[in-house]
Amino acid sequence: ELKVEQNPLFLSMQEGKNYTIYCNYSTTSDRLYWYRQDPGKSLESLFVLLSNGAVKQEGRLMASLDTKARLSTLHITAAVHDLSATYFCAVVFKMTDKLIFGTGTRLQVFP
């Protein structure tokens, strides 16, 4: 059974600081996604990571994948208020299109 653990569940951070969200999964997978959800809104796809060592960056967010450790990280650099949202990682189940989601990390950035 594929399980996805995400931590922390809640993150309150000051503007300008750096932090990392972690996503661990229990069995091998060939794709991992990061999504963002703003309050009351739908999920928006941020990154898809396909292979070991993959790194994707968009603005202040950088995602990486270590398939051997079954670990992905979402690193936030110099946080700004606009990054306040809930972030989910999701792992593809076997060779299907079925996604298993982590519990989400609610990020709150304050001045």
Partner: protein
């Protein structure tokens, strides 16, 4: 842009009622999905479909059924609504091996 439209943003129903949640996508995607989102549990897959008239159970199918008579439409049915089905329901669609695109969600309350 991909558009996934859910028929209602908010819905209030009574225990024992049969409830229909509708989802339509406009990008000719093969895959369609229904999730429920609950605080602290992330998104959990109820049912998914890879093609018209085809359906597969997700992780929590009990108490639900689905219908996909046309490629663009995927319906979630609560056969006899219960209070523990009060939740946010999200529909998504995708092409094979591509990111899922989500609708805005339906917040369903069962009284």
């Amino acid at each position: 842009d991909v558009k996934v439209t859910q028929s209602s943003r908010y819905l209030v129903k009574r225990t024992g009622e049969k409830v229909f949640l509708e989802c339509v996508q406009d990008m000719d995607h093969e895959n369609m999905f229904w999730y429920r989102q609950d605080p602290g549990l992330g998104l959990r897959l109820i049912y998914f479909s890879y093609d018209v008239k085809m359906k597969e159970k997700g992780d929590i199918p009990e108490g639900y059924s689905v219908s996909r008579e046309k490629k663009e439409r995927f319906s979630l049915i609560l056969e006899s609504a219960s209070t523990n089905q009060t939740s946010m329901y999200l529909c998504a669609s995708s092409s094979p091996r591509q990111p899922q695109h989500f609708g805005d969600g339906t917040r369903l309350s069962i009284l």
